[in-house]
Symmetry: C2
Subunit: 223 residues, 2 copies
């Protein structure tokens, strides 16, 4: 059985979990706080980041969320998530990078720092200016999702793809941490509501990260 | 003809240029300073980053260096760079992520900020503490390359791969900006020396970024 080293609010682990569930690949959750820098974890992944996916029986260790997703896309035929022509696949990967890098850097990373790390590790109060800036940038990203959904059924085209999983993973963490104001983003909200009711998404929405509580709408599939 | 929007010290554009050259795909260089945030460029790529690769005749725009590399890996058979079993390919992509994200974040990005942006844009002096920290972290990355090359001919295995191109691209920018001390890194230096003499690498080594001059060893294939 695959063992996924992760913590509940890691957006990249969430992306991998969504992909594994959609493809029907069973896995166990192993908790890892990468900020603790455990030697055993750093030996598995010198980059010091989650997720890491390991199958001890077969001696395989997979590192980096995009490398993990490409691995299962290549080895499991069910529910293709990087599909279509080379140009379609490039569009999917462009959007994965946009959410993994820009949305994460603009929104998820500062929210995680202010609302999770400062609470659990540094015992500090969040900086309201940083939170406001992250929420402002979140609006820009939601507007871009509105724009995409105006033109396409799913973010990268006619079918659900890894772009949708990457976006939903980042958004779910930002939403958990109270970083999203959905007012005026009807298209993005409708797209995300479809996601929240998928079987692959339900386990994520029911998990909690220690003392940090999400807003009431977070796990409500009708909100 | 493909048009590559880039600036001379963009490590991600360098990775794409190395891949295109190794695969024999002709392209033109178009200069883009992403920090200027030109509307025309942001329309091409809302992420606001280089490289962007466009073929106006065919109406194709490719964005994000990893998406671009995967596109040419899928469409051009010559010189495969993400090759082997699914596990081999996962190892190549793990290392690409390590250099694109960790090496870039630890070394290339702070060096670019202190030595390029502060000089060309902000007209400030570099912060020597930031430079020292980046150079310290560069040593850790070079030790990891030493370790890999102790066990393998190329970074990800028996043949040259996108992992080598990603690493060489980051290293070449850090080296240009004086961020690397090669003392004690014989394996990494020997691996990089092989790269410097490849036809795909020569054009990069001969380019200069405005007033910023590299150290004398930078373009010397015997240094």
């Amino acid at each position: 059985m695959w063992q996924l080293y992760q913590f509940p609010l890691c957006p990249f682990s969430r992306k991998v979990r969504l992909l594994l569930s959609e493809k029907g690949v069973p896995y166990e959750l192993w908790r890892e706080n990468p900020w603790e820098g455990r030697d055993e974890f750093l030996n598995r992944n010198p980059a010091g980041r989650t997720p890491v996916l390991q199958d001890p029986a077969r001696g395989i260790t997979l590192v980096d969320s995009r490398a993990i997703c490409e691995y299962f896309e290549e080895t499991v035929d069910r529910s293709p998530m990087i599909n279509g022509t080379a140009a379609n696949r490039a569009e999917i990967r462009r959007l994965v990078a946009l959410f993994d890098e820009n949305f994460f850097g603009d929104v998820t990373a500062p929210m995680l720092h202010e609302r999770m790390k400062k609470r659990l590790i540094y015992r500090q109060s969040p900086d309201s200016r940083v939170l406001r800036e992250a929420m402002k940038l979140a609006h820009e990203h939601l507007y871009y999702i509105d724009h995409l959904i105006d033109h396409r059924p799913w973010l990268a085209g006619p079918t659900m793809s890894l772009a949708d999983l990457a976006a939903a993973a980042q958004i779910s963490v930002a939403d958990y941490l109270g970083g999203l104001d959905w007012t005026g983003h009807d298209q993005a909200r409708d797209w995300y509501a479809v996601f929240k009711s998928r079987p692959s998404f339900r386990p994520l929405l029911s998990e909690r990260m220690e003392v940090i509580q999400p807003p009431s709408h977070y796990a409500d599939v009708n909100a």
